[in-house]
Symmetry: C2
Subunit: 210 residues, 2 copies
């Protein structure tokens, strides 16, 4: 009887600008958590698998027709088209895990997170912030994958997206990674200590006892 | 820029039935935290100091007249009379610490917590629960200070007070003390990561930078 909400898992959405480090934070959170208690949401996509990618682990790889059918059935928490390929978060997979009492981690960009919030407002929305715009610029430049123009575009997108932070429950500044991971873990633990509707069930146990 | 709410502290109210272990949990939380960041609220009382008790540390000791004057001025977050003595939580001391950016811990019974909630709804209310009524009975009996009659009265009071749990934000079951302390610490960290009104200030810094 250590957890008032042990009956169902919680959906944690980690989101934020590109370069804020949400991927690294999610990996650390998962690596340092009990896999029976927490799982990563796996996206579905129509793009071709790259070398080494495993179906059902990296992504669920489907055809465009299969994807469109699922969209039609309302089978996604969110979906989007990126460079001609579809990507989406399959609702059934997420709900299945939650019902089994497992938390689900969703790592997603800000537009995606806002769509998830519409579909699943009970989720816990965490915005990962870089410590400063200067650091973000440095991180994006350091990747060496994007042109200066792309980086400038990303930074200006970041600034405009910051205003969505008020839609989120939590905000974690990723300056020191260990500190950020500690905060994220604390958020998970704290959310499992919240007084929720199923507290009544717990209280009934106390009353029956006496 | 590691903490979006570094400008003002937060008031944490730890409350629950007698024997749930809220005192032990608060002591551990304080002992394991930076004293610059978190402080215990010290009560004011009209009772005589006992040997070893220090004014301003154990309690603020005042006369009945001083106490009544403070009540009249609305100077308490809550106050109560117990066995002919007055006890209260001085509002000015708490607010002073919060303004200095320090969190304040308030360890208080359920009736007191409900009064604090009226006076300071921004507080974070944590209900400490014993793992079961059987364990609570054992703890109260083990103290050896109360008669069977008193213990039975306490247990029945506990059962009726459990319904107030819905007024609280969090609920921590104190079965394993280490686990309970970890949860309480996580709640403190998580609350400091919440998206609050002063997030705007943080965002302005990002915008000014670019």
């Amino acid at each position: 009887m250590n957890d008032s909400s042990r009956h169902s898992g919680k959906l944690f959405i980690f989101s934020g600008p590109s370069g804020a480090g949400k991927g690294t934070i999610c990996s650390r959170l998962l690596a340092e958590s009990d896999p029976e208690r927490i799982a990563l949401s796996i996206s579905m996509t129509t793009r071709e698998p790259r070398t080494g990618e495993i179906d059902g682990k990296s992504y669920y790889f489907v055809t465009r027709e299969q994807f469109r059918q699922k969209v039609k059935e309302g089978g996604f928490l969110e979906h989007a088209e990126v460079y001609g390929n579809y990507y989406g978060t399959p609702k059934d997979r997420v709900l299945e895990q939650l019902e089994q009492g497992r938390d689900v981690i969703l790592e997603i960009d800000i537009q995606g997170a806002l769509k998830v919030k519409e579909a699943y407002p009970d989720g816990i929305f965490v915005f990962i912030l870089p410590p400063s715009m200067a650091v973000l610029r440095k991180r994006l430049t350091g990747r060496g994958t994007d042109s200066m123009e792309t980086i400038n575009m990303r930074l200006s997108k970041t600034l405009s997206e910051l205003s969505y932070i008020e839609e989120y429950d939590y905000c974690v500044v990723n300056g020191d990674l260990d500190e950020a991971v500690k905060r994220v873990k604390s958020i998970v633990i704290a959310e499992h200590s919240r007084v929720t509707e199923n507290i009544q069930e717990l209280l009934e146990q106390y009353k029956e006892e006496e």
